[in-house]
Chain length 254, copies 4
C-alpha cells in the first residue's frame, strides 16, 4: 500500500448538496470534540476509512484485544436539507507533502460523492480563558461569509495562518470548485476546551439545520470551564509567588 | 534500484495454508531472538532477500571480507501441518512511508505464495523484570483470539500502540484478507530478554505444531534472567545511594 | 493535488524574448523587496499562481476573512523592449527535492512562454553595513557577464555558494538552454536592507530598460540606512560595555 | 528536473572491460584525494555530469563569476589494458532514498557503457595515526579478494559497516552482475590523510596497470604526516595538561 486510500465500509448512493465537516485534532482539540459529539448525537454512520503511509507507522490495540491502523474516517448524517459527511481521525498527516496528499484524496472522493461545500472546525488561540467564547471564521466567498455572519461568526479579526487540514481542505477545495470555510472557536490554546466546542456545535446545528441535543455537552462545558478557571487561578498564584520570590532574591540573580 | 524489492534465492513452489512469522528487532529484541532461534533450530532455508532504499544506506562487512546490503530475509520451514515463512532482518525501515512500503511489498509477495496468516512477535514493555513472563496478544478476529487464548495468551490487557512492522503487518494484512495477530512477550524494555523470548518460542511450537528443541534457549534464558536480576539489584542500590547522597547534600542543591 | 502546479489566472499570449525575474525571500530580503517594488511600480499583472506540497501546509487568513494557500506567483510586465515575468512568493520550498521540483516546474512553464533568460535577485552577506552598497553577480555566460559589468556589477568577488531558488533557477535554466544570472546586493545579512534593494532596482531599470520611479524606495532606503546605522552604533556600544564588564568581573568568570 | 540524471559531455564509444572507480568525499577524504589525484595525473577527460535533487539545493560560485550546480562527475581514462571511469563529486546524496537512487542511476549508466567492475575507495578509521598505513578491503567474490591480496590488501580485518556510496555501489552492483570491491586506507578519521591516500594510489596503479607519477603526492603525504604528528603531540600534551589540572583541582569538581 503505497498511497493514501479510501476504503468504503458501505456502498453509498451519491449525496445531494452535501457538506464535508471536519473534526480532526488541532488547537484546543475543538475540532475533534465537535466532530465526535456530532457523530455520537446524530448517530452518523461510518461510511469509509482513510489510510495513509503519511500517518505514523503504528497500530492501536483495542480493548478487546484487536488492532487497527491509525486512520481517518468519514461518517454520514442524512440531514433534513443537506447530507453531512463528518471527517474524524486519530491524527493528521505528519509532513507537508503528506498533508497535501491526504487532503487531495479526501477532496476528490468527496467531490465524486457530490459534496459541494467544505466546512472545517478548529480553535483560535488567544492565550486567555474568555468568559464567553467567540467564534471566528474565514471563508472562500462573500456569500459564505454572509451566511455565517448572520449566525454571529466574526470575520476579519482572526490573523495569521491556519496550520494543517483545517486550512488546507477549504483552500484546496476552492481549486476544485467547492465552497469552503473554517470556523474557529476562541480558546486559550493549552487546554482541551469543551466550552468553545459547545459554541461551535450550537452554530453548526443552526447552519446545517440539524437537531443536536446539547445536554451532555453543556454539562461537559460547565465542568471544563470550572476546571479551566481553577487552572487559571493556580497559574496566577504561582506566577505571583515566583515574582515575589524573584524580588526577595533579587541580589542573587545572575 | 528505486523501490523495495524481493529477490528470490530459491524458486519456491506455492505454499499451502502458510504463516508469515516475523522476527524483527524491536522492544527487548524479543522478536529477533525468537526468529533467529527458530531459523537455527528448524534449519529453515533462506528463500528470499528484501532490499529497500528505506533501510539505511550502509553495507555490512562480513568476516571473510565480503559485503552485504542491509536487508530483511525470508526463511522457509516446511512444517508437518503448515508451512512457515520466517522474516528476519537487520533493521526496520526508517520512516513511516518506508514502513508502509516494505510491509506492503512483503504482504503482496506472501499472498502470492498462499500465505493466509500473519503472526508477528514483539515485546510488551512494563518497566519491570517479572519472575514469570506473561504473553500478551492482539489479533484481527475472534477465532484467532480464541485459538491463542487456549494456549495462555492474554488478550485485552496490553494497552497503547504497537510501533513498526509488528503492528503494521497484521493490520495491513487484514486489508488483504489475511488473518493477523501480534504476540508480545512481557519484558522490562531496556534489556535483551531471552527469558521472555523463550516463552514465545514455547508458545509458537505449540501453535504451529513445530518440534523445537529448547535446550539452548533454556540455558540462555536462565543466564539472561540471572544477569537481569543482578542489573536490577545494582540499579536499586545505586538509586538508594543517590537518594541518600541527595539528602545529605540537600543544603547545596540549586 | 500531488505535485507542484501552475494555475494561470490570465490566458497569456506567448511572450517575446522574455526574462524571468525573481523576487523571493532570502538574505536581507533583498530579492523580495526588489520584486515587490517592481510589481507595484510597474503595475505588473498577476498571470499565474504556483502551488506546491513542498511549501508548508498552512493557509494565510486575509484581512476580509478569506484564506489563501501559501504560494508563489508570476506577474507580467509588458516592457518596451522585453517582457518581464516577475516571480514573487511567501516562501521557498522546504527541502532540496522540493526546491528542484518547484524550480523545474517554473522553468518548464517559462520556457513554454518563450522566456529566454533567468535573472534572480539575492543578497550577499558581508556582516558589515557598507556606506555604498556594491552589487555582485554570477552568470552562465561571458556575454551576460559583460552586459552586467558595463552596468557596474562585480563578477568574481562573491565566493561560496548560493542557497535556494536564486542559484537553482539560473543553473537549472542553463540545462534548458536559458541564459541565467544571479545579481546580489551587498548587505549585512541580519537586517532587511532596503538601501541595497534600491541599488538593484536601479540596476534592473537600466538592464531591462524599464522606467521605475525610485521616489518611494529612495525614502525607504534612507530611513533603513539611518536605522541600520543606529543599530550598528548600539551593537558596538553594547559590545564595548560587555567587554568592559567582562574585564571588571574577570575574577568571577567560570 | 525531478530525478537524478546523467548528462553526457562527450559522446563516448562503449568501453571494454571497464572499471568504475570512485573518489567521493568520506572518512579522511581519502577517496576524494585519490580520485582527484588520479584524474589530474592521468589527465582523465570529463565525460558526464550527474545531477540530483538529492544533492543540496545550492550552487557554487566559480572564480570567474560563473555558477554550477552541486554534482558528481565521471572522468574517462583510456588505460593500456582496461578503461577506467573515475567518479568525483562535491558531495554524496543526503538521504538513504537519495543514496540508493543516485547509486542505481550511476550503475545502470556504467553497465550500459560495458563497465564490469566497481571499485570504490574509502577510509577506515582507527582513531590512531599509524606510521605505515595499511590498506583494508572487502569484495564481492573470492576471485577479487585474491587479486587484491596479492597486492597486500588485508581482508577480514575491517569490521562494522560502510556508510554511503563506497559500500552501496559495489553491493548494489552485485545485483546487476558487476564485480565489486571497496578498498579502504587506514586513517585516524578526524584529519585529511594524504599519506593513506598515497598508499591507495600506489595500489591502484598496480591493480589497474596505470602509470601514475607519485611525486606530488609523496611530497603532500610527507607534509601531511608531519602535520599529523604535530597535531598528535599537541593533543597528547593538552590531554596530559587537562589531566593534571583535573587532579590539582579535584576538590572543586562538581
Amino acid at each position: 500500500m503505497k498511497d493514501t486510500v479510501i476504503i468504503e465500509k458501505v456502498k453509498m448512493k451519491k449525496l445531494h448538496n452535501a457538506v464535508l465537516l471536519t473534526g480532526l485534532p488541532g488547537i484546543g482539540l475543538i475540532g475533534q470534540v465537535v466532530g465526535r459529539y456530532l457523530v455520537e448525537e446524530l448517530r452518523a454512520e461510518k461510511v469509509a476509512n482513510i489510510y495513509s503511509p503519511h500517518f505514523p507507522h503504528q497500530v492501536f490495540m483495542t480493548k478487546k484485544g484487536g488492532i487497527r491502523l491509525i486512520r481517518n474516517s468519514l461518517y454520514l448524517h442524512k440531514g433534513k436539507k443537506r447530507d453531512v459527511l463528518i471527517l474524524l481521525g486519530d491524527i493528521q498527516a505528519m509532513s507537508s507533502v503528506g498533508q497535501y496528499e491526504v487532503a487531495g484524496v479526501i477532496l476528490d472522493y468527496c467531490k465524486s460523492m457530490n459534496v459541494t461545500e467544505v466546512l472545517t472546525v478548529g480553535g483560535y488561540s488567544t492565550g486567555k480563558i474568555a468568559e464567553e467564547r467567540r467564534v471566528f471564521g474565514v471563508a472562500t466567498s462573500d456569500a459564505l461569509r454572509n451566511r455565517f455572519k448572520k449566525l454571529g461568526v466574526i470575520f476579519g479579526e482572526a490573523k495569521g495562518s491556519i496550520v494543517g487540514a483545517a486550512g488546507l481542505l477549504p483552500a484546496l477545495g476552492k481549486q476544485k470548485d467547492l465552497e469552503g470555510s473554517c470556523i474557529m472557536g476562541e480558546t486559550h490554546g493549552s487546554y482541551i476546551d469543551t466550552a468553545s466546542a459547545r459554541q461551535i456545535v450550537l452554530l453548526l446545528s443552526k447552519y446545517l439545520d440539524m437537531k443536536v441535543d446539547l445536554k451532555r455537552l453543556n454539562k461537559q462545558a460547565q465542568e471544563s470551564q470550572k476546571i479551566l478557571k481553577k487552572v487559571q487561578d493556580e497559574v496566577q498564584k504561582s506566577m505571583a509567588a515566583q515574582f515575589e520570590s524573584a524580588n526577595r532574591n533579587v541580589s542573587y540573580i545572575r
